[in-house]
């Protein structure tokens, strides 16, 4: 099992360690519910060093990123970040990812741990015809996520970057606890917050200083368990559950990352075809209308027919009810539509509700 550079610190804090995508990571410290609520109301610190990083440089870097992704990377000025995807020719997902515009000929891609090697192989195998160099940098980067309404207050005293001046989906380089870092106003929780990348070989002091200075303000260390409940309340996609190489970008209800006017890109013809012909299914949010918690892969029934399996499903610590995501037949995706989920052999009522389940109030 691979270990992040913060592994010992998690154990010292009592983190319950599990294996996740080949990494030994904490699933929880104080418990999923208190950790979840700390992020919603105060702040939480996550070790997300398992995420993968790829650097694309060269004269054709922009054209190359444009070819691999549906979103329009040409709109990014240096200092900006974009949510997008690595698309197959079928407009399904190799992965979803963030693209950081580092300079005119330099893009930094952040991908999921589960797909890290697959993604790099995909990226490296599509360079023909482009004057680019691709470097797999996952092993040299550590990454922390500091999330929650107090994230800026916790981080500002520890960095020379002006955080108040950093807008959402922007990044800057600077020192954090004396270490060289890249900090972006991004995250996977639906809260305000930052992701902190460093190539420093000994970054433990960043973690421990953030914990120490944040504790009095209510900051807690957060494990993978609450990372999942937080992202689901905010309807942020989890690869393997909600999106995969079997689901198209339009079916996943991510039309907002598709920019057809930008030119050709992998998957575009299929997207245009789906737009013309209409979809047969779409990812929607649901809540349970009867007691029970729907989990991934539970069978989903509509009018007695099995129509799907639950994509994501959990108990929402904030809303205190069972919620989830599922691909339903397109004529059954309107809010209020009732269907059934089989929970341990029992058909249990669920209903489609609007998403995201939770959206933070804007300041």
């Amino acid at each position: 099992m691979k270990k992040t550079r913060f592994n010992e610190l998690h154990k010292q804090l009592g983190g319950k360690m599990i294996e996740f995508c080949g990494w030994e990571l904490p699933v929880e410290y104080a418990g999923i519910i208190p950790e979840h609520m700390a992020v919603r109301t105060k702040a939480g610190l996550f070790d997300v060093s398992h995420m993968g990083e790829v650097l694309v440089t060269g004269k054709d870097a922009l054209a190359y990123v444009q070819w691999l992704t549906p979103n329009d990377a040409s709109k990014l000025g240096p200092g900006q970040v974009q949510y997008t995807a690595l698309m197959t020719p079928e407009s399904t997902f190799v992965d979803d990812m963030l693209v950081y515009a580092m300079g005119p000929d330099e893009y930094f891609l952040v991908v999921n741990a589960a797909n890290d090697d697959k993604d790099f192989a995909w990226i490296a195998s599509h360079t023909q015809g482009f004057d680019v160099k691709v470097e797999h940098q996952s092993d040299v980067y550590s990454q922390l996520a500091l999330q929650g309404p107090l994230a800026e207050a916790v981080l500002q005293p520890l960095t020379d970057i002006d955080l108040a001046g950093m807008k959402s989906f922007h990044w800057a380089k600077g020192k954090v606890v004396g270490k060289d870092c890249l900090v972006s106003r991004t995250g996977y929780t639906g809260e305000d917050g930052f992701e902190i990348y460093t190539r420093d070989p000994d970054p433990g002091v960043i973690w421990s200083t953030l914990i120490e200075t944040g504790r009095p303000l209510g900051l807690q260390p957060i494990g993978l368990g609450a990372r999942d409940t937080l992202r689901l309340e905010s309807k942020l996609m989890l690869y393997g559950n909600d999106i995969s190489d079997k689901t198209t970008v339009l079916e996943a209800d991510l039309k907002w990352i598709v920019k057809l006017q930008k030119g050709d890109f992998l998957g575009k013809p299929v997207i245009e075809k789906q737009l013309a012909e209409g979809l047969t299914r779409k990812l929607v949010g649901f809540e349970m209308a009867e007691p029970g918690i729907a989990r991934p892969h539970y069978p989903v029934y509509d009018k007695g027919q099995k129509v799907a399996e639950v994509a994501s499903g959990t108990f929402s610590p904030l809303l205190k009810k069972a919620i989830g995501l599922v691909y339903l037949p397109i004529d059954r995706t309107a809010a209020g539509t009732e269907f059934e989920i089989e929970i341990r052999g029992k058909r249990t009522k669920a209903r489609v509700i609007p998403t995201p389940f939770y959206k933070r109030a804007k300041k």
Binding site: I32, I33, G225, T229, G292, I293, F315
Partner: protein, 128 residues
């Protein structure tokens, strides 16, 4: 954290024998492993329990687990309070967080269970 007068299983259930009946629940170790418990599915009163049959399902945010009866019997009562406050299993697993009461079929079956000291030794073994 392991009451002396209860008997235990290696699957982390406990039974507190009271005459011909027994209260059944999960141990403190089990609730720690499960994390925040939010939902408990209870059996019907009168249900006959074969050896190691499920007496219910405990759901935490992250996982779903069956709870099994330590000995055969018949369900005489269920802890209705868990319907609204499933976290009693976290807060007081050996007390208010009991799950069912059963009429024990044959008290000889209790001989196969662990005493408190045996269970504690078993837990020590798990942690090493």
């Amino acid at each position: 954290m392991v009451p002396n007068d209860f008997l235990y299983t290696k699957e982390h259930e406990w039974i507190k024998v009271e005459g011909d009946e027994g209260l059944i629940g999960i141990t403190d170790f089990a609730q720690h492993q499960l994390g925040d418990i939010i939902y408990v599915e209870l059996p019907a009163v009168g249900k006959e329990l074969a050896p190691r049959q499920s007496i219910g399902v405990v759901e935490s945010v992250k996982s779903v687990s069956d709870v099994f009866t330590p000995v055969p019997g018949v369900v005489t009562a269920v802890n209705e309070a868990l319907g609204q406050t499933a976290d009693l299993l976290n807060k007081d697993p050996h007390g208010q967080g009991w799950i069912v009461r059963i009429k024990i079929k044959d008290k000889k079956d209790l001989e196969g269970l662990l005493s408190a000291s045996d269970y504690e030794k078993y837990l020590e073994g798990l942690e090493h």
